[in-house]
Symmetry: D2
């Protein structure tokens, strides 16, 4: 039976088609690996979308039927159409969850939602990463041990130029001497956003069961509930105000 | 069928036994009204406990079987045994959720968990309260309208001496000129805490369907997931440190 | 003697030139009133800039010499050049403070920095506003009483579509039944941002001594200290990583 | 000329008197080293107080004249009188700043203010610590480089059982594989609290100029401004409420 949370797994899907080594790591594409992980979980109904599909696979209809969107991109952030970015942002404001994965820290959508450069340090040195849980009761960390260990990953280091997270769930340690805020929660409008660090295209990180667990937990966490209606614009008073005459052209806010 | 989230509804239960008018408002006690609201919801299995039971009804066994504890108290905060308060605090640290209701702002357990006086302004004037949602995508507000309106309630006003909430969900407006941070989320250890303002003993506030909805939403939000093990104390290094010899008396942390 | 904190007071400056009634309220322009308030304070050196100056008065040179920028706009947000908005955003990331005043909630710069719509409810009914302090120890509230009372102001009501503030300093009560998060602190990059609600063009709000005090306090709070250098890009390891050979084309991050 | 911020440097002062090696590291006591660092800074007037003085050196008079209290303790937390702890807590609520240093994470006062166990992992292995700045625009980090490097320190590792910080300023990396939230800001009542990790008694950490800079920055950050009066208790309405008759025994709140 299909799950009730509808996840759309979005991927740039260029590395895997252009580089044999990466294709060998992710024969189904990075989106294929992420979707496979989520697909095993009865909570979710999963579809995928990629950059080179029409409208990047993110039509109004697809987004309208998406509860949580996951986003992986790296070398083609600039190819994402601004109109689609606006569309995604609007859906986040309406309540759609968004999981921003690894190099998507530099995606247009994440930078727009954060208001910062989202820049960071990096190094490709096949080094060991330990992703420590710092919020052990948070639902995104449910079922994990004290940390996730990845034998080989790209390093991301501070300073990571993001707003102070509403809740910080993970902090990474790297063998080369850096730390990184690896799991960060935000709200924008009615939508919840989670940034999760690991996932360089040259490592099979999205096959890691703990990484998959985090993505699944985060998808559940970010899935919209019955959002409270957000009503903006000109408003009549509830309490009578002495002498107040409502404007003739009053329009209920929209 | 019983729900999977086990809620214990705790009540001081003195007003209702000592004052006829209050007994008329809450013939089953305040705990009875809260438990009735939760009991209609398939997510929950509900029990109650009150101050004058042995160990205030909060034995080690009861707490071990409690996922979320709701707390209402007012005039007998001082009669709550410090040892029971410590027990509840320890369970919150382990992951039990805690909903702190109305005048329980001054309960021992809330003050211990907050580290502040938790003092506030108040006035009994049967005045109108509008509890505005300020976090429309938050699960605790799911299914509400823009605000909850209570025709008659006790006023609570700022300054409310609490730590900055991790997330502020509600802000109240009172006819007499005050505002109040009415819904505030916290984490302490692995446990989640939600303070919710309304609920004076002289009004049937806990019969209000929106108030009941908030309490149910908050109980689900605060219910523990599989908390990550919290391991403290002396630790062996994971990475070998040059020249490091572990202490002979090494004990895995407890 | 001139103060050490260099404030640039920016104003759209259209209402005052096009509407006699508003000109009567602010004969020197809204910027003139704000600058006059700050100018009396020995901490500040104040200049002004307005929309219809070349580059809106915000040249690279002016911004380079600005520690804190205050922003008031209302009906001409769309006339602000995107290139100037980017310039201001970059300066905020570098550490410049930004005070966003009243209807500037809808300015391009605020929406870019927040990532939300920044929409809200409003009503022009000359109604009473009480701006309650909810963070009594915060430097932005220093020297105030429990609240600021404005006999006549435009109403702004929730939902205010902003990210959860890092610190909430003020909450407004309005006679007509609404509340509003009126003073909200953020950090973006190395820069601090404060949104402050009051200041409709038809009321002499910026002559109010408490409002002026808040703006001065906020300017001091937002003024940059010696920001830590933010170094991004490819990084060499500090700890030697077994087998790691740094890339030939290594560039220190910029 | 004495500075305007009055700092009291409190120290347990037992290790230094009982252990020759530690005495050699801190011949003036840990308080002496911290006070010496602050004393060179024109912003501060510094005094010291220690556990074995009457009332631990923290009489009502001393605390009344203290703007910021720094606290170092380790093996004698249990010897601190509960009445003195209450006194310090009350002063923090009134606005006094508190800097909690290293092993004082387990002090009674910190646990009371946090509401958590404040437990953590530790290891004495003379290992390298790098304290990364994650909030480069924060005043507590002013003037630092990207990180503070300490060649030899005790390790403290996550999970650190503290509430989510209002602002996280530092994250430590340790050679042995752990991370730690090393600089954390809180508010309790009108008082500001900063926890700062480094400072084991066997290393001359408090002679480190960057560590001293952080303590000085934090003391300035935590120093009280003119706190807004916090008025609690029964309150008269500001807006007339229809039919409201104030209680005969009305007392202005205290």
């Amino acid at each position: 039976m299909a799950g009730t949370i509808r996840v759309t797994v979005w991927n740039e899907y260029r590395h895997e088609r252009e580089n044999e080594k990466i294709a060998a790591v992710y024969p189904r594409g990075i989106h294929g690996a992420i979707a496979a992980g989520l697909g095993e979980d009865a909570r979710f109904t999963v579809r995928t979308a990629t950059l080179d599909e029409p409208e990047h696979g993110l039509t109004e209809d697809v987004l309208a039927e998406t509860d949580v969107l996951t986003w992986w991109g790296h070398k083609a952030h600039g190819d994402v159409d601004d109109a689609i970015v606006e569309r995604v942002q609007r859906r986040v404001h309406e309540g759609m969850g968004l999981l921003v994965l690894h190099s998507a820290h530099f995606s247009k959508i994440f930078k727009r939602l954060m208001g910062t450069t989202c820049d960071l340090k990096w190094r490709e040195a096949n080094e060991r990463e330990r992703i420590w849980v710092v919020a052990p009761g948070h639902p995104i960390a449910a079922g994990l041990g004290e940390y996730i260990e990845l034998e080989h990953e790209e390093m991301y280091g501070e300073h990571f130029d993001i707003p102070e997270p509403e809740m910080l769930v993970f902090v990474s340690w790297f063998a080369g001497g850096e730390v990184f805020r690896s799991g960060a929660c935000y709200t924008r409008g009615a939508g919840r956003i989670f940034y999760f660090r690991p996932g360089h295209e040259t490592y099979p990180t999205y096959e890691n069961l703990d990484v998959r667990r985090v993505i699944a937990n985060a998808a559940e966490w970010a899935a919209p509930r019955q959002a409270v209606p957000r009503i903006f614009g000109n408003a009549l008073p509830v309490e009578p105000i002495k002498g107040y005459v409502p404007p003739a052209k009053y329009h209920p806010a929209g």
